[in-house]
């Protein structure tokens, strides 16, 4: 019997063309949205109003195959689910940051393109990629055709932790965090073997990591903490710290203090306020009309 191993979900950060790194420096003051020579739909007008004008973000809901990379077979997202996702990103990401961050923060720093992909990006070993980020400019979200708006945990696992994770990379790439953070678990980062280094008997949280992927390197550790913290309620976070044990729990808490300090002093963002905003909105998600593009 053919047995397919469904391994853990992967999050990739990649720059497809390294040669572009030096020459394609992003000018965040320049619009990334090209003029459209076709007639705009109601959804296009909605995206202009809610994404382009306030944030200079291009919400890419159509998928010409050439937009995808060379390694995966992908299909576009349904229009219906892209509409829902546009409202979700606005409700659970853009607006919460707006509520706690300085004016124009999101317009200046948030990735300029969000690409909706209908299918997962399956690999030939049975694993699948759930999100990619290219050079801090573009976040691709996969499995939009399987969108389940009734389950906030799934929404966070499949989409929003990816977004928060990648966005946080942009922040520390603009202003680096303290080397004190690197030093906390400097000797236990495992690099690319993060996927095979941890077992049930030897879990990553006991070593002071919020996720297996956080053990890859300090920058991933840093952004994983942000992504997990703001998608966890106070009680859930307390449970996570408790589950990490007498060694891992205090380490995660120590790292989190540095994350809080960094966001507050560097970006004037109180991460607890941000978490409260996101948690309140998550609790009220069922009241939202996610099909509204008027």
């Amino acid at each position: 019997m053919k047995k397919i191993n469904f391994l853990i979900l992967l999050i990739f950060s990649s720059v497809i063309f390294n040669s572009c790194e030096n020459t394609d420096a992003l000018d965040r003051n320049v619009s990334v949205v090209n003029g459209d020579d076709g007639e705009k739909t109601q959804f296009d007008l909605y995206l202009d109003r809610e994404y382009v004008d306030p944030y200079n973000i291009s919400f890419l809901y159509k998928l010409p195959d050439i937009e995808t990379n060379f390694n995966h077979t992908l299909v576009p997202a349904t229009l219906e689910n892209s509409i829902k996702m546009s409202n979700l990103v606005k409700y659970l990401c853009l607006e919460p940051y707006d509520a706690v961050a300085p004016e124009f923060f999101m317009k200046k720093f948030f990735p300029k393109q969000l690409l909706m992909v209908g299918s997962a990006a399956y690999q030939n070993n049975g694993t699948r990629i759930i999100g990619t980020a290219e050079g801090g400019l573009k976040i691709s979200l996969f499995e939009i055709n399987n969108l389940d708006v009734t389950n906030i945990e799934t929404l966070n696992a499949l989409y929003f932790r990816t977004i928060y994770h990648e966005f946080s990379h942009i922040l520390h790439q603009n202003v680096d965090f303290s080397s004190d953070f690197d030093a906390i678990t400097e000797t236990t980062y495992v690099g690319d073997s993060w996927n095979e280094s941890w077992t049930a008997a030897n879990p990553s949280n006991a070593a002071g990591y919020i996720s297996n992927y956080a053990s890859k390197e300090a920058t991933e550790d840093f952004v994983e903490l942000i992504a997990h913290y703001i998608t966890s309620s106070t009680s859930t976070w307390d449970d996570i710290i408790a589950a990490a044990g007498d060694t891992g729990g205090p380490i995660i808490t120590q790292k989190m203090e540095l994350v809080k300090k960094y966001l507050q002093t560097t970006w004037s963002i109180n991460i607890d306020d941000l978490r409260d905003e996101i948690q309140t909105r998550s609790a009220n998600l069922n009241d939202q009309d996610l099909d509204n593009i008027n």
């Binding site: 010409p64 995966h72 077979t73 299909v75 229009l79 690999q123």
Partner: protein, 409 residues
């Protein structure tokens, strides 16, 4: 790998176009710039696509080797970049699925279906089991042909050369005619006479195999059903004649090439083996004692070897492609592939021949005694109920009348 290469080719084309537009500038050989000509081509092809009231027949072949054969889609484009898609694969093709399309200018007009359409993207949608999907395309490089009202559409992933043909009747009308042909030929067997020699022409998954001449290898070519018969993916030489399309003649029960050079006689075997049948071994009066006792032996052996329970339902016919006999053992399938060659001496009898080990058979060779019993005692008399479209069929060996079994739909 071919997919990757094709995408590289595609991107190379883009880069060439991009640099040609930005650095070379206007070509003095033309009255307009390259970008203007490209834009005009897009405008012209869009006007062509949106012009027919009824839309276009799209003869679609997924996979770079066309292993699934061809399927008919009907595409009706509007000016607002929306397209209605119908397909013979829909259970109900009275209602289209609508999504968006675009015409990109990438060295030429490229048609892309850029929001998801479950009908159009069926063969392109990947899964954990098929990470490259079924090799289907959803982007096509369009070009005109020498034939009016026919466009070429080359898949950017498969490199398959497909056709868009202007439709002159409603999508439902055309697809209904196609469906009638498909239904009529369901379960049919084809034979061809060459110099007095009769040969069965194997057909599987909308691929047809013509025998090679002299020492040449057989030619396997995909085909699609049309409203009048079948059409091959590409022109194929059969006994020295170039053949592309066959017309169904129901009166003569023949598929006849358009030039009349090649005739395939249609024979309906006594049993339609292109569908699934079930043998219920423990049902009262369902199998003979000989059959039952052989099953009990393999049932016990299977339990002794693996501690598994062999299902008393056995699948027969088109189980997992290709045709075969399939067992189910405590969560695992195992299949032995058999064929049902036409018995020219007596087409009313069902012939069964070994083809080879199928899915998981390497682990379940101890089930072979039942295969041996079935195959060694062919051919079988076929007694179906009801006679015109049987759902219950008793197969009785002509070699040993004590070997018989019943199959049910």
């Amino acid at each position: 790998m071919k997919t990757i290469i094709n995408k590289f080719k595609f991107c190379t084309l883009i880069l060439l176009v991009a640099f040609s537009c930005t650095e070379i500038g206007d070509d003095p050989a033309f009255d307009t710039s390259a970008s203007e000509r490209s834009s005009e081509a897009v405008t012209e092809i869009k006007a062509t696509l949106t012009e027919p009231t009824e839309g276009w027949i799209f003869e679609y072949y997924p996979h770079d080797l066309q292993i699934y054969g061809g399927y008919n889609y009907i595409l009706s484009f509007d000016d607002n970049n929306m397209v209605d898609v119908y397909s013979e694969r829909q259970a109900d093709f009275s209602i289209p699925e609508t999504s968006s399309y675009d015409i990109l200018s990438i060295g030429g007009p490229v048609l892309t279906f850029d929001t998801y359409n479950s009908v159009m993207h069926e063969f392109s949608t990947p899964s954990a089991a098929e990470y490259q999907a079924k090799g289907g395309d959803y982007e096509f490089i369009l070009s005109h042909t020498d034939v009016e009202d026919v466009l070429n559409a080359r898949g950017t992933v498969s490199d398959n050369n497909l056709k868009l043909i202007k439709l002159t009747e409603s999508p439902q009308s055309y697809l209904t005619k196609v469906k009638e042909i498909v239904d009529y030929l369901d379960g049919a067997v084809y034979i061809m006479s060459t110099d007095g020699e009769i040969t069965q022409i194997p057909v599987s998954n909308r691929n047809i195999t013509f025998p090679g001449e002299d020492l040449e290898e057989d030619t396997v070519v995909a085909f699609i059903y049309t409203d009048t018969g079948i059409k091959l993916y590409e022109t194929t030489t059969i006994n020295g004649n170039e053949v592309t399309e066959f017309t169904l003649d129901k009166d003569a029960n023949q598929l006849i090439s358009l030039d009349g050079s090649t005739v395939l006689d249609i024979v309906f075997p006594p049993l339609n083996t292109s569908q699934n049948w079930i043998i219920n071994v423990i049902g009262a009066g369902e199998v003979s004692d000989t059959f039952f006792n052989t099953f009990v032996n393999i049932y016990n052996n299977n339990g002794a070897i693996y501690g598994e329970t062999l299902s008393t339902d056995i699948e027969f016919g088109n189980t997992i492609t290709p045709t075969g006999i399939q067992f189910y053992s405590s969560g695992y399938y195992a299949e032995y592939n058999v064929t049902f060659p036409l018995l020219f001496s007596n087409p009313e009898l069902l012939s069964i021949a070994r083809k080879g080990a199928g899915f998981n058979w390497q682990w379940y060779g101890h089930l072979d005694p039942l295969i041996t019993l079935i195959v060694d005692n062919e051919p079988y008399e076929v007694e179906g109920t009801p006679a015109d479209d049987p759902t219950v069929v008793k197969l009785t060996s002509t070699v040993d009348p004590d070997v018989w079994f019943t199959i049910r739909k």
